[in-house]
Symmetry: C2
Subunit: 349 residues, 2 copies
DNA sequence: GAGATCATTGCACACGTGTTCATACTAAAA
DNA sequence: TTTTAGTATGAACACGTGTGCAATGATCTC
């Protein structure tokens, strides 16, 4: 591993001069500078970012922790972050925590030890426990997809309540009266808020709320499938379903078909995310588009604002956009769906 | 930012003793050690990995470059890598290159400057151009999903030829005679090999090869859609389609439906990847499962073998597994599909 | 009690880079 | 010629950490 001292020896100058020459400092004679840079190139020299970081007190690196990178939602957020980081010449340190608060803390601590210049956390489960930790380490942290009402926290979220409201309103306007909610793990902030939006939409039109129509998965399709099966086994099943996210919606549609129901004629489904594949599904999924990529960009942008000494907005809240596709239609009979009590041995289509 | 010198001052010892105490060295008096560690904790001290890296000459960091993290295929590979890295106490530096050889090189150079202990590159587009660069920088590199026949390269791939063979054989065995191939960008190694497998399967049973039935997308659903549309507009369209990957398969199925065809009765489709959502599609996608997570694990495992001085296998080739689901059935008439020349204004189901 | 062994600690240097300050030399001005 | 201003360079220190070596003092052995 060759250092500036090596090429200093080769060029018969001090390492100071080499350092200056490589950074194109006007302090060094143009001829010597060229000679040094030539030698450096010949020897295949590359600066050591670790040596440089030690003196510059910055690593040009930001840390990103997500629940799972295999989750396309997180992947798109990271994609947005990476895009902005690249334009600033920053690198990305990635860690996953699998919704484990402990692993989340460990990841953040690891980032801190590595002296990242900033940290982005998506779907944090730790929340206010960060406070004492943040007091110690003066590293700017931006939260994505979780909001903390404390003064010194920055966050980028979508308006989850509004998203739930839009999705449910859409189903209400189609004429549905028995609308189910397929949530994520209980206690998750985004779930609570989307659920609240769902409730609000029902109250707007005086549709009686039926707790039977609320089930919880874990955000993945498999859990959504079994949760939906419970819902469809009800004596008076829903005619429409609002799902926490698109992955859950896929699982729900799968369960419905196995139950002998056709989508959307027997069951309307609306998701939330608008994943790349959602528009290619059959039927194409009606959903609330979440600007994932843009959220990543904004979060990273906020961080770089902070790093350059500016005072960006603390709480950025984005609006989801309703994308109506083919998975939602009016219910079969406008006189509610009491008559359509499907048997499990029903039409196998 | 507090350093060992600060707590050395506070504990009235030399920074050497602090360094030893924090690493639980047996050389330091247990009482002093405890006192030092207490002070360190009170002050919220955390080692600087950059200082440590400078002297240890290792960063406990590996670099990963993928084409796009938003691509679920890459995301799952990264997920596998991260899992193994974590067990070794390593962190992950992530970069994307968007299939641009130049950006790929820049990413690798950035990693090198940051003195990562090893590099993983998925779907490399640069190939042998690495050689001179590798000669300079003695950082172990593992390639995923691209194979380089040079001596000093390590790689983990799936047997693409075999995958193409299995997929096409499956369609042949169902009785299809006009089988299309929807490939990725021309020149991509994986595409060439899968295409070769496709050809081999056709030759096995003496099905005449028709170059009309081969089209190329870019691995994404949108391009796949338009490419498939061209295929279906043929006077004598295919009755089955082997797609480069699952994303393409989704685009292909979408195009077929817009063309008035039913999947699988009018067109059988087989993908390659087995994404999380592939089994939840309608119809559930027949595909060749690629052990993405395992490939990431193996690649990372190979790297850590190298880092610990062992000599792991150079070329790891994995077998894809045919997963038969609902998107493939025998063709409508065994007397080929000449009669089924669908009009674009056909049944709109 | 003298020498030997051991436990504990500090000094000094190293890692690779950037930067301040002083120095040596050159050229211009007086 | 002397002073002044300017140019080019090196010495020295700093960043935070780890470690070989020496030094100190204590305990043990005979």
């Amino acid at each position: 591993m060759i250092s500036i001292k090596d090429i200093a020896r080769a060029a018969d100058v001090s390492h100071s001069t080499v350092s200056r020459a490589l950074r194109n400092s006007p302090l060094v004679n143009p001829e010597t500078s060229l000679r040094i840079r030539t030698i450096a190139q010949e020897k295949g020299y590359r600066v050591s970012a670790v040596g440089r970081s030690l003196v510059n007190r910055r690593t040009d690196t930001i840390g990103v922790v997500v629940t799972s990178i295999a989750d396309p939602f997180n992947a798109e957020i990271v994609s947005g972050i990476e895009e902005i980081a690249l334009t600033h010449g920053y690198s990305l340190l990635l860690a996953t925590c699998h919704s484990d608060p402990n692993r989340e803390m460990l990841a953040v601590q690891s980032f801190y030890e590595r002296r990242v210049d900033g940290i982005l956390v998506s779907s944090s489960r730790v929340g206010s426990l960060y406070r004492p930790m943040l007091a110690d380490m003066k590293v700017p942290i931006i939260f994505i997809n979780s909001h903390h009402p404390d003064d010194d926290m920055f966050s980028v979220t979508i308006d989850n309540h509004n998203a739930g409201l839009q999705a449910t309103r859409h189903l209400v306007q189609l004429g549905h009266k028995r609308i189910g909610y397929l949530g994520n793990q209980f206690g998750l902030q985004a779930d609570t808020q989307r659920y609240a939006g769902y409730r609000s939409a029902l109250e707007e039109v005086d549709i009686g709320f039926d707790p039977e129509l609320v089930v919880h998965g874990n955000g993945g399709p498999e859990n959504a499938k079994s949760a939906t099966a419970r819902l469809l086994a009800l004596a008076n099943p829903p005619t429409a379903l609002f799902c926490f996210n698109d992955m859950s919606a896929f699982g729900a549609m799968c369960a419905a078909r196995e139950h002998g129901l056709a989508i959307p004629s027997d069951l309307s489904v609306v998701g939330l995310d608008d994943l790349l594949l959602s528009s290619y599904a059959e039927p194409a999924l009606t959903t609330i588009r979440q600007p994932k990529h843009e959220m990543g960009r904004l979060a990273a942008g906020t961080l770089f604002q902070l790093l350059s000494g500016n005072s960006p907005e603390r709480f950025i809240s984005m609006r989801g956009e309703l994308i109506v596709r083919k998975s939602t239609v009016p219910p079969r009979s406008s006189a509610d769906a009491i008559s359509t009590n499907h048997q499990k041995s029903g039409a196998g289509a």
